[in-house]
Point group: C2
Chain length 212, copies 2
Amino acid sequence: MFNHIQNNDFASIVKGRRSVRNYDENVKISKEELREIISEASLAPSSANMQPWRVAVVDTPEGKEKLRPLVRFNTLQNDTSSAMLIIFGDIQSYAYAQEIYDAAVEQGKMPAEVRDSQLKTILSMFPTLPRELLVEVAKIDSSLFAMQLMLVARAHGYDTNPMAGFETDQVAKAFDLEEERYVPVMIISIGKAKEEGYESVRLDSEKITFWR
Amino acid sequence: MFNHIQNNDFASIVKGRRSVRNYDENVKISKEELREIISEASLAPSSANMQPWRVAVVDTPEGKEKLRPLVRFNTLQNDTSSAMLIIFGDIQSYAYAQEIYDAAVEQGKMPAEVRDSQLKTILSMFPTLPRELLVEVAKIDSSLFAMQLMLVARAHGYDTNPMAGFETDQVAKAFDLEEERYVPVMIISIGKAKEEGYESVRLDSEKITFWR
């Protein structure tokens, strides 16, 4: 983890993050580095540590061509980025519950009794929750992952652009993912910036804070 | 921004983040520092830069007492943290659109013509969107803010715990916020850790990645 980053300056990573739409088409991020970026972003927290985030990495010419008509006005990002990362929330994330909790016990991070009682709760609760609630949890947790991924990308020397404007009802099917299970959250383009993004303004903290 | 942080090591901030439930009750974070943390977290991106995140900062004994029955099994965090931050999504975030885009023009970050055309789009589109979609956008964007806030907190020497288990249908009203407008997303406790959080495991990146 974090063995191949170029920038470890937290303040500069956060302050310098911009939405970058135009990337250097000659820069290709290796699968190995994309795996590292995804693993590092995965350190985000999630409900019951179910880690419902899933990433369809679209980095081949064929994939990009398939995605192009689905990204509306975001074709520049699709055409120039190293990869388009379609972030999905898995509403059957509990399928990995046993594996996650067993690994925690094996690695000495959780007593077996805690695993047993928590697994029992998770496996009796999650599958009975209404779909709407599972979708909501998956989207919130996947957004935590997405934010951390955008920062991790900058540590690796890349920039990103999170996009909500795409055909959310078509992306799962287009990339051979079960529509009922994988709910699209956002698309993040990633690559080497060719043009800097615009600086943008923020509301004063007093406008968004209620003291109670 | 970031003038008062204690740790600027990105990798250590991300790797060391744990869900901390037990805090040193003697450590009170000043309003000034909470404002800084909120402002720094606000550098997160959002749809059309509408910044729909809102934070009810519960840091008084009266506020904590009011919140206590609403946080279910999370009373330890409520009792010991410096503050409980209730993160809401504002589904009328476009009420600030004019102010945000005017400020961008005043600060030389956007040409006036761009502001005019984007504002026209935002103000004709957002208010007509179905409530369900506005809620979804507000929750996703507020989650981006929430993740950045948890990292910023660590830069300031504090720890956090994101919580989904609370009475989502009661918190707005309990803290005198318009229920129709402010949609609860999560609660984040913040304070000085008394006990370290548990290390947890993550799925291998290949389990969560689809190469396309």
